[in-house]
C-alpha cells in the first residue's frame, strides 16, 4: 500500500490540513494468459451494473449472449407455429376440412379431369358467391360439370343436384351450409 497525502487547505505559505489515504500498490504485470486466471475480479458493484454505463457495450459474446440467441430462436419458432395454426384454423372454419369435403362429395372425383378445362374460381370467394339455383348451362362443359367445378367442395353436392333435387326440395328457409359458413341467400324453387 502506498501512503498518499492530499492537502485540504492552501495558504500563501504552503499546504495544510493533510488528508491521507492508502493507495493500492501496483500489481505485477501479467505474464500471459495464465496470469489472467489469477487476476482479481471486479468488485461487486461493477458486476451488479452500477459501474460506468459504457461497461456493457464492449463485453464480448459469452454464455449470456448464446442463451439469448437460443431464446430468440425459440420465440421465432413459437410465433411461426402460432401463425400457421391460426391460418389453418381459419381455413378450416371458412372452407372446411379437406377430409370432410371429400367425404361430402365422393362422386366429384370422377369428374375431376374434366375440371381442367374450366377456369377455377378463387377458393376464398367461393362460399360467398353461392351458385344460382338454376345455373345457365355452359356450352363447352356439361350442364352438371360447370357448377360443380366452380363451387367449393362443401357446396358442391347441393349445387350438382340442383337440376334433379330442386323439385323435391321442401320449401322453407334456407339452411346454413354444413361447413358453418354464411347462410344461403338463395333458395331452390
Amino acid at each position: 500500500m502506498i501512503h498518499v497525502q492530499i492537502a485540504s487547505q492552501l495558504t500563501s505559505e504552503g499546504v495544510h490540513g493533510v488528508r491521507w489515504v492508502l493507495l493500492e500498490a501496483a500489481e505485477p504485470p501479467p505474464a500471459g494468459p495464465a496470469a489472467e486466471v489469477g487476476a482479481p475480479a471486479l468488485p461487486a458493484f461493477a458486476a451488479a451494473g452500477t459501474a460506468p454505463a459504457a461497461e456493457a457495450s464492449p463485453e464480448p459474446v459469452g454464455v449470456d449472449s448464446s442463451a439469448d440467441s437460443l431464446r430468440l430462436r425459440l420465440q421465432k419458432v413459437l410465433v411461426v407455429a402460432l401463425g400457421l395454426g391460426a391460418a389453418l384454423w381459419t381455413a378450416a372454419v371458412q372452407i372446411g376440412l379437406p377430409g370432410r369435403a371429400a367425404a361430402a362429395a365422393p362422386g366429384e372425383a370422377a369428374s375431376a379431369p374434366a375440371d381442367a378445362t374450366v377456369p377455377a374460381a378463387p377458393p376464398a370467394s367461393a362460399p360467398a358467391l353461392d351458385p344460382p339455383a338454376t345455373p345457365a348451362p355452359d356450352p363447352a362443359v356439361g350442364p352438371s360439370q360447370a357448377p360443380a367445378s366452380a363451387a367449393p367442395p362443401a357446396v358442391r353436392a347441393p349445387a350438382a343436384q340442383t337440376p334433379t333435387a330442386a323439385p323435391v326440395a321442401p320449401p322453407g328457409p334456407p339452411a346454413a351450409p354444413a361447413s358453418g359458413g354464411l347462410p344461403r341467400l338463395t333458395a331452390s324453387l
Binding site: I2, H3, V4, Q5, I6, A7, S8, Q9, L10, T11, S12, E13, G14, V15, H16, G17, V18, R19, W20, V21, L22, L23, E24, A25, A26, E27, P29, P30, A39, P40, L42, P43, F45, A46, T50, A51, P52, A53, E55
Partner: protein
Amino acid sequence: MSTLQTPPTVNRLAWHDEADVLGVRIRVHFFDPAEADAAPDFVGRQLPILAGSGARLLAPEGLRQPYRAGALLAQPDAVLAHGDGLLCLAYKGGDGRLVQRTLWQARWRVDVMLQCIASAMAVAGQTQKPTAALWRGANLLAQFDPGVAVLECLATNVGAARHYWREPQVVSPAQLAAFCEPQLRSLPGLAASAAGIGSTDRDDSVPD
C-alpha cells in the same frame, strides 16, 4: 484514512466562492484573464491567487513529468513546490470559455475535478509529500478538497479500473475518474450534499 487538520490561522487566500460538489469542497478564485496572462512568471499567470508567493515549478514550463503511484500513472500539466508540500495543477483541460461567477456550479465538470484529484494522488504517492489539487480555467482557479468517500473511492478502485479498461499495467487519472464517477453519484450522501449546500458567495469581502 485519517485526517490531520492544521487550522490555518494567517494568510487565508482570497477565495471568492466555495461549494461542495459530489463530496469535494471546491474553492474558486476568479481573476481577469488578460491581467493574469500579462504576468511575467508562471505562478502569476497560472496561479494568480499565489502571485508573489514562494511557489516554484519543479520542471521547466511545458514539460510534463510522469508521476506514478501503484498502477496510477499521471502526467499533470505542472507540479510546483509550495512550502513543505506540492501543488498539482491542471490548466489544459478546459474549453477556454469564461465562467460567470453565478453559474460556475451549474457548468462544473465533475470528470475534470476527479481527474485533478487523481493526478494529485499520483504525485503525492510518488513524492510522499502532501499535495494540493488545483485546476485553472479561463478566468477562475479552483482548489479541490476531497472528502473521505472520494479519496477512498479513488484509492481503492485503481485495480478495478485497470481491469475494466483492460490496461495491462497502469491506468490514467481520466480512466480512474470515469470509472469512479458513477459510483460516487450512486452514493446517497454525496449527490444530496452537492445540491443542498450550494455556494457561499463571499464577493463582498474580497476586493476584485
